[in-house]
Amino acid sequence: MAEKPYGLIATFDTPGALMRAAEKVREAGYMKWDCITPFPVHGLDKAMGVRRSKVPRISLIGGITGFCTGMSMIWFMDKFDYPITVGGKPFFSPLFAFPVSYELTILFTAFATIGGMFLLNGLPMHDHPVLNYENIRRGTDDLFFIVIEKADPRYDLANTKALLEKLGGTEVKELES
């Protein structure tokens, strides 16, 4: 028995078994639970009831910021702050400012996307209780896990354990927080 339990972890051998179990866990009404898989299992989001990722919104903000940065930077530098005549071309035109703004749109979107992904995932987090489970290394190799947190309102050591075992989970263990 763990002194300060974090929750229960159950092992599954195949993505199919995990998927069927995940559907049942969701139907049982659990909210604070998770699956650990070595690769993204197709359709598991739906089985778990995970909503569409919010990363695209952050990306969009990044992209708009990048485009505006490019346009305003070029306007400021070549038209406002220090205009120089080159080849009789206008000091500012959105046409020649476009390639640079376009590249900055992509650059800022990339940073926003990756930053947003880390932010929404709460990473980096190097000391998560799940990582202390002795067999967790198989979770980045070839096994699949379901973790149900103690913080879940429906969590009950005996009942939750029975549910996970009934769903085909082997080695249902308590995690130390």
Binding site: T14, G16, P40, H42, S53, V55, M77, V86, P99, D142
Partner: protein
Amino acid sequence: MANALENNDVPAVLDEVRPAVKPRAELVGHGRSFSWITEKICGIAEEKTPVWWWWCFITACIVASFTVAGITYLVATGVGVWGHRSPVNWAWDIVNFVFWIGIGHAGTLISAILCLLRQKWRTSINRSAEAMTIFAVVCAGIFPVFHIGRVWYAWFLFPLPNSNYIWQNYRSPLEWDVFAVSTYGTVSVLFWYVGMIPDLATMRDRFNAVGKTIRARIYGLFAMGWRGSSRHWSNYEMAYLILAGISTPLVLSVHTIVSFDFAVSLLPGWHTTIFPPYFVAGAIFSGFGMVLTLILPLRAIYHLEDLITQYHIDCMCKVILATGTMVGYAYAMEFFIAWYGANPYEGFTFINRAFGPYWWAYFIMVTCNVITPQFFWFKSVRANTALVFILSLFVNVGMWFERFVIIATSLARDFLPSSWGYYSPSIVEIFTFFGTFGVFSVLFLLFIRFLPIMAVAELKAVTPQADPHAGHETPGGHGHG
């Protein structure tokens, strides 16, 4: 391959027109398991450094020293040590820059465009192709940076406040290129790194399991505490998809902007609207050539035949065939437009390219780029790995000569015969370019040694057993047929 239709009751009217079930190509041979894939790929970085690696690494370092020597001499003396003379003020440096940047493009194409097109065969080669992209951009960057002469002023390229209070000229395509290439380099690194996070976590856990805590900590630091959570995968996959989505216009824009460096000028032979698509096709063509040049030896050394199957090689050869044919079409179309446009200077430039003093470069270019890929029509050629490797080398050579032909011949003889010239490289230029192959190889060898050379998580996801419905409805059959 089990035919699902045979098991079901087919309505009588459809009895005669049963659709053919085409077996899907196996992406992982011999039905390898998840743990086999992990062991195979991570094992390459974990094993004791092989002897061949040291020999290659030392050789690569010696070759790379040529670049170091060439650049040191250039910085100590001046840009005059290169063979550039008026009228040819852009020569090998820009040729090499475009050559290396072009090679990089196949990496982004594989990781981004093929991801959007759901071409699952990309999973075996995307990691090493992305590494190739980054190292190629590193090699490319050397040339323009040192071509500016006083390299310690290279930061003038970027909009940083300086004591002259003057800003960059955004009306010039060269400044666009600064942004295009630096964005390309940055996004390529980010894309590569994000793709690697789950695999770094795998390596962290494997090092932990065998008690190598220092290495586990280093890999763990970069793995950001990844634990394979499904909720994380959901955001991760979305982020990866967006990165693929933005890298696609990025890769197309980068070589378009590189081509603007030429197309926006008024020089006959450069000032053409065909340049952007022509450059992009050429870049992908050369990049796939380089991917094959790198992957085929890796496959042989590490016995990766189950992960890089004949199907993968076929696909790459076909991309080379398609893009090579596009490049050939562009060569023909350039000639046609030069004649049809009735501009005497433009017409002369193209006759001069093919029959003037640089005829030999044009001949090599056409032979390597137009004729070489046509061999890939034949299945027996694609199945002959050694031959594919040799042909891929020809592609690399041909694309270098393409850039040389475009840049040097157009500048050497433009408008007034009184200002014509002939360009030959100096030994310093030759050394510097030769050395970049060493720089590239050093980086690539380090990559092989320390990082997972294939996307382990993605490879697992394309195996038949990764499908959660596999063996569910049709026991023993492939679920994804």
